[in-house]
Amino acid sequence: MHGLINKSLEVFVRETYGPEKWQMIAGQAEVPEGAFESMLTYPDAVTDRVLDIAVKVLDKERDGFLEDLGTFLVSHPSVEALRRLLRFNGSSFREFVDALDDLHGRSRLAVPDLDMPVLEVDPDGRNAYRVRCIWHRDYGLHVILGVLRAMADDYGVLAFFEIEEGAENPGITVTLLDQDFSEGREFSLGGVPT
């Protein structure tokens, strides 16, 4: 798994639960040097271990923990660069969701060896979309759910999200309820990258 993905997990735990918790988790999961490097690649098993141990140490429900990670990636100031890059995917939340299948290609433009989930989007009626997540791990979908929720807030849109469990290919149903729900967060195209 790419270091950027591992680093995201680390930063989320450190910023949300404190450096001591992270050290405890990293130690038990045998993360080399106790921290991830964004530009190195790690065996998938290391990421799996960190995740398993984190939910145990933090006493969190796994799906909720992953969703919080997704929300963190969009909304926390320490990862503002990522939010900005996501906002390039559409000038409105509808455009953003519609073009979710571009995200994988976009991430590869930036970091060619980044193994991000592949997202597939199908319109489901006038104001709904079905998003599926194709990845080599089963924990992508809940992170994406968190990302989508936070992005709806970012665009100032009221939307309803539901995980379709049980299906052979689980997905997220996104329903747009109010596209002018709130101001949303400022995004200027020329904003200085942080």
């Binding site: 964004s38 530009m39 660069a81 900005r84 890059l85 559409g90 930036a110 970091v111």
Partner: protein
């Protein structure tokens, strides 16, 4: 059907959606219409109705000033400046409109795109869907973020390297112990003095500089490797060899107050170092000046004093014609009293 018959009529709104930075110039040289994004560069002064050449300058391929000359550039890539905005250049193409009805230009920001979106607060919707400008902006940001992450890693690796070097105990060229290792060895010798004290030999290479100067640094390095090999082979297992300068070496002989032994070792070393090594078929000739002292001369043992005395003896060897050893003579201090051994 001739080409002239196939005319496409597009409204201003449609043209805006396709080409938000277009300019339509009438036969008199006045701007008839311009795209909404282009107008954002001069929001206070609408372009339509003004003379094109009052507002814009053609920088490339040639500086032209009248419509007829502009029309001759039909299809060419243009670099265009705005008179009201120095430092801002646009790129684009001009085409002549049929029947002498004027000109039509389509422009883009080219490499000024990042500057432009900042200055004029442009948004995703200000660009045509087919324009790659937004992707370029995305890439600039993504690249900056990735570069930051890479730079962080490089910085940390650099720190780790510096740290490792400062903690290193060996000389990278010869693999011999370095000055830092020598200081540690002396620390241990003072803390746990060997029963028979220790001997110190300072070896300064003769003629090494001329090998470097005449045959180059590669030859010099080869010589140093050979010196290291000789010194390692000529000392006992308990003794230590240090490279403490470019062509300066120190031998510490544990449990050694035997000056005869030390002078024999010194002679053997000089003898062996004088066997030339060959670099690209040419002999590299060196020798060594050696200074010797032993810890028994000092009470209490002072490392700095021993080193400076050994240094003095080395210079005596140099002054006496090099290629020889000198034993330091502690003239102004009494020889150790035999009674001391009774404790």
């Amino acid at each position: 059907m001739s080409e002239n018959n196939r005319i496409l009529g597009l409204s201003a709104r449609t043209l805006d959606a396709l080409m938000p930075m277009h300019i339509w110039i009438g036969p008199t040289g006045h701007i008839l219409q311009c795209g909404c994004t282009l107008q954002k560069l001069m929001p206070e002064a609408p372009f339509p109705g003004k003379l094109f050449f009052d507002e814009f300058t053609i920088v490339r391929p040639r500086r032209v000033k009248v419509l007829d000359q502009l029309l001759q550039m039909n299809g060419a890539q243009l670099k265009i400046g705005l008179k009201g905005l120095p430092n801002m250049h646009l790129k684009g193409t001009v085409v002549a409109l049929p029947g002498g009805t004027g000109a039509f230009l389509n422009l883009s920001f080219g490499i000024s795109v990042q500057d432009a979106v900042r200055r004029f607060d442009l948004s995703l919707t200000d660009f045509a869907a087919s324009d790659l400008a937004v992707e370029v902006l995305y890439l600039i940001e993504a690249n900056a973020a990735a570069m930051n992450a890479s730079r962080d890693l490089v910085d940390r690796l650099q720190d780790a390297k510096t740290d490792a070097e400062s903690r290193a105990l060996t000389d990278t060229l010869t693999g011999l112990n370095n000055r830092r290792a020598m200081d540690m060895t002396f620390g241990q010798l003072l803390a746990h003095p060997p029963q028979d004290g220790f001997g110190l030999m300072l070896i300064d290479l003769d003629y090494f500089k001329s090998v470097n100067d005449t045959l180059g640094h590669a030859a010099g390095d080869l010589v140093l490797l050979e010196v290291a090999k000789v010194l390692r082979e000529d000392v006992r297992a308990d003794d230590k060899v240090f490279r403490v300068g470019g062509d300066e070496f120190v031998l510490v002989l544990r449990n050694c107050n035997d000056l005869d032994l030390m002078t024999r070792i010194a002679d053997r070393i000089i003898n062996r170092l004088e066997q030339p090594v060959h670099y690209e078929g040419k002999p590299c000739r060196i020798s060594a000046s050696i200074g010797i002292t032993i810890s028994d001369y000092y009470d209490p043992v002072e490392i700095d004093k021993m080193l400076s005395d050994a240094d003095e003896a080395t210079y005596a060897s140099k002054n006496a014609g090099r290629a020889q050893h000198t034993v330091f003579k502690p003239a102004d201090r009494p020889m150790p009293e035999p009674a001391r051994d009774l404790h």
